[in-house]
């Protein structure tokens, strides 16, 4: 850790915690922030109580005296999480912002590693490495297993070394950014009830900011999932997906709102959703009842299938909340697919430029790459919308993994075929 940093007295980083009726989780979060590897002078914590109707304020007021760091509580009427985060960012005094959710318990090295990452290479987005407090195997309910498995899959995906970060990796549960860049990008869009961080991610990626996962910046996610809250979340995700697709049509292919139904059951359900309100309502009721029934009978596999169906249904209800009719959904897809993003691609001849490969890729943001060796075409690293620019590791992985295997495999097969042909020919001659 940088010594100079530890001895300075002004706060270097502001931790912004939006809170909406999470009074029970808050003390743990605030205490965890008190025992950090860096000195408490070099960071401040801002809790934004957004339309809290529980005892958040009183809990914080009693804790405030025991906290060693600069602390600030802001109250505002319920405007949503994005607005709360923006408010916290506006009140922050330090040049760096670390967004943390109220249910994230910080590991002791969290702030230190975020700070160190920004010192080493400023002007980027650093994603914290949040993990589950307990693995899904220890869960006590079917719902908890389901939700935690999904989260684990998401978290493991982004920990892979060659992972290409997408807009969905920008998760405001734990990430840090410089305040100037945050303000330049315009902060979070306050119309987004959920998914505001993804929308911010799209803008960050458009502005060619680099994303990095800080492996040491660990926080533990607490909280037990609740069925109703989970479904309400799915519904608001649906609404926000539409807004996101309208605002950034170039990423529509990454969004669930562009998915066509892919089984007969889902096709039927989708049809009912748009045009048969009564049948749709009956479906919803029977799915909910079925969920309860399978849970009481302990049919875990069927339960998770039903849950997946129900969550999907709620997602599409959210889509319907904004679009109202199928016509507008089709119109949105058509219009968005016309706005193809202008990708930046380049062709590289590995025969001459292999030694400078890393340098070339790092010098400019590239979405796709055409690779050849002399006149021999090697492969195409395809551009994907809503993803970060290529890094050397992606190209290395492409070369080392997929390309070599396919090309080498092909060459070996051709070789083998030649040998067989030769053998049969010689055998014929012998006869």
């Amino acid at each position: 850790m940088n010594k100079e940093l530890i001895t300075t007295m002004t706060p270097q980083i502001s931790i912004i915690i939006p809170n909406h009726n999470q009074a029970s989780a808050l003390p743990r979060t605030l205490r965890a922030l008190a025992s950090q590897t860096v000195k408490p002078d070099c960071y401040e914590v801002i809790v934004v109580a957004d339309g809290c109707q529980d005892e958040t304020v009183s809990v914080v007021k009693t804790l405030e005296a025991t906290l060693p760091y600069h602390f600030q509580l802001i109250e505002q009427t319920g405007k949503g999480k994005a607005a709360a985060r923006n408010r916290g960012a506006a009140e922050a005094k330090s040049p760096l912002l670390l967004f943390l959710d109220a249910d994230q318990e910080a590991a002791p090295q969290l702030i230190g590693s975020h700070l160190a990452a920004h010192l080493a290479e400023p002007g980027q987005i650093y994603l914290g490495n949040f993990t589950l407090d307990s693995p899904p195997e220890h869960a006590t309910s079917l719902l908890e297993v389901e939700v935690k498995r999904r989260q684990q899959k998401y978290l493991k995906g982004r920990q892979q070394p060659g992972h290409r970060f997408t807009l969905f990796d920008v998760n405001a549960a734990n990430f840090s950014i410089s305040r100037d860049i945050f303000q330049e990008l315009g902060g979070f869009d306050e119309r987004f009830q959920t998914s505001g961080d993804y929308e911010f991610g799209v803008r960050a990626l458009q502005n060619r900011l680099r994303l990095h996962l800080v492996a040491d910046a660990v926080s533990f996610q607490h909280g037990s999932p609740d069925l109703e809250a989970e479904l309400a979340l799915a519904r608001s995700e649906g609404s926000c997906n539409v807004l996101l697709a309208q605002k950034h049509p170039e990423v529509i292919n990454r969004l669930r709102v562009s998915h066509e139904p892919y089984t007969r059951l889902r096709r039927t359900l989708r049809k009912w959703l748009w045009s048969q309100p009564v049948l749709s309502w009956l479906t919803l009721r029977s799915l909910t009842k079925g969920l309860k029934l399978t849970e009481s009978l302990g049919l875990a596999k069927y339960w998770s299938k039903l849950f997946e169906l129900l969550r999907d249904y709620y997602f599409w209800l959210g889509v319907k909340d904004v679009l109202w009719t199928e016509f507008y959904w089709k119109r949105l897809l058509e219009a968005a697919r016309e706005r193809w993003p202008d990708f930046k691609e380049m062709e590289i001849d590995l025969a001459t430029e292999l030694p400078r490969l890393t340098e070339i890729i790092e010098s400019q943001p590239l979405d796709g790459l055409w690779l050849r060796y002399g006149s021999y075409f090697l492969g195409h690293l395809k551009p994907i919308s809503g993803t970060e620019a290529l890094r050397p590791i992606h190209v290395r992985e492409f070369l080392g993994d997929s390309l070599i295997m396919t090309k080498l495999g092909k060459a070996t097969l051709e070789n083998l075929q030649n040998q067989v042909q030769l053998a049969t020919k010689t055998a014929g001659r012998k006869r």
């Binding site: 539409v242 697709a245 309208q246």
Partner: protein, 410 residues
């Protein structure tokens, strides 16, 4: 999808609106100063929707064509007006209405807020912070409240509005413009939606209050029986003005009708109908502009449509029994003009495949159920009205019953 409602004024600079995600159309009132020139309906782009001045200009040339010339407000006397706002426990939204009433551009007017059967005194507190008068009416029913406002009114012109409306500063000027002709006994004005943010509001607006931007005059002596029954072309009770002479001649609002009674709606239609029968002249004047906040959730829309179905049935029964129109005409209207095309035909009709936004069938059913309720509601509401009158007789000078009794004697 949602509709973005806004105003485009030729006399003021227009700032382009960005980030209209979630909106599919824009409803724009084109104005020149205070003169309304036309209504535009503009399709917004499906992705990255925004509203630019060039687009509006283009739409004006396509949809309105040549703009009407600048009109000068006639130099007529502006007699003082009493404005009556009726409310019932809606302290949250009445502030918005009263705020707009404070900013009216008119030489002399008073505002009377009538609180109908309040559960608490929150409306009273809201009104206390304004220069307006607060009156309490303890008999349930919007028409009781309207009559109370009439009894409290000091001036000879009485304008009515609702608590969920917001008024244009030139509202009273517009209404009194309509009264420039001494023949005209009352005026109704233009009502536009203040917002169309939910599907319920858009559905309400499809058969809603907007009666267009062209002024019309109705002479009661020349109207056909059908026109005498269909009073909804006049507008709605959220934007109307009467001369006091109307009440002297035909009595006040029928307290058995309207919201808050078992009849549920359309007390204003009944009064207009009686005025037309008496041979008065009425005017629809779009220069008097009110913005109305429609109910934003399905539940209230459902209730409102049920009330309209029920209220119109009661209204038909009432005018049928009053016998001032040939009874055959009323029955014909009830079955052939109303029940069949408005309900039964629409209920089983196929959706037009060209229509991207078909009207939901269940809403027609809800209104139809209201209509089925109306015979019982008719009996119930007059029985209820007699009971209320026995307990506390109406103190109005223009009481409907008093009037009916004297007119029969004549």
């Amino acid at each position: 999808m949602k509709t973005y409602v806004t105003e485009y004024n030729l006399h003021r600079p227009f700032t382009p609106v960005k980030n209209l995600e979630g909106y599919s159309t824009a409803l724009i009132l084109v104005r020149r100063g205070r003169q309304s020139l036309g209504l535009l309906k503009l399709e917004l782009s499906a992705v990255q929707p925004c509203l630019k001045e060039t687009k509006i200009r283009e739409a004006i040339s396509q949809q309105i064509g040549d703009l009407p010339s600048e009109e000068v407000r006639p130099e007529i006397p502006r007699p003082p007006v009493s404005v009556v706002v009726c409310t019932r426990d809606r302290a949250e939204i009445i502030g918005r209405c009263l705020e707009s009433l404070k900013n009216l551009d008119y030489p002399k007017y008073e505002v009377i807020v009538v609180d109908n059967v309040p559960n608490n005194d929150r409306v009273k507190q809201v009104v206390a912070s304004t220069p307006f008068r607060y009156v309490r009416e303890d008999r349930p029913g919007l028409d009781w409240a309207r009559n109370k406002g009439l009894a409290e009114a000091r001036y000879d012109l009485i304008a009515y509005t609702d608590d969920d409306a917001v008024l244009d500063p030139a509202w009273l000027l517009g209404l009194t413009d309509g009264l420039a002709d001494p023949q005209v006994m009352g005026v109704t004005g233009l009502i536009l939606p203040a917002e169309l943010e939910t599907e319920a509001q858009v559905r309400f607006e499809t058969n809603g209050f907007n009666k267009g931007l062209h002024p019309r005059q109705f002479d009661g002596r020349q109207l056909s029986p059908k026109e005498l029954i269909e009073m909804h072309v006049f507008g709605a009770g959220a934007n109307m003005i009467f001369r006091r002479r109307v009440f002297e001649q035909i009595g006040d609002f029928d307290t058995a009708l309207s919201a808050g009674t078992p009849a549920r709606a359309l007390g204003d239609h009944d009064l207009w109908h009686r005025a037309m029968i008496a041979g008065m002249t009425w005017r629809y004047e779009p220069r008097a502009l009110a913005w109305h906040y429609h109910r934003d959730n399905w539940g209230s829309l459902q209730k409102q449509l049920f009330n309209y179905g029920c209220g119109f049935g009661v209204y038909l029964l009432k005018i049928g029994r009053a016998g001032q129109l040939p009874r055959r005409e009323v029955v014909h209207h009830a079955f052939i003009e109303w029940l069949w095309p408005w309900f039964l035909k629409r209920m089983f009709q196929r959706h037009n495949p060209q229509d991207n936004f078909p009207y939901p069938r269940w809403l027609i059913w809800v209104e139809f159920l209201g209509a089925l309720r109306s015979p019982w509601a008719y009996i119930e509401t007059y029985w209820n009205d007699r009971r209320i009158r026995r307990r506390s007789p109406a103190e109005s000078r223009y009481d409907r019953l008093k009037f009916e009794a004297t007119s029969k004697k004549r």
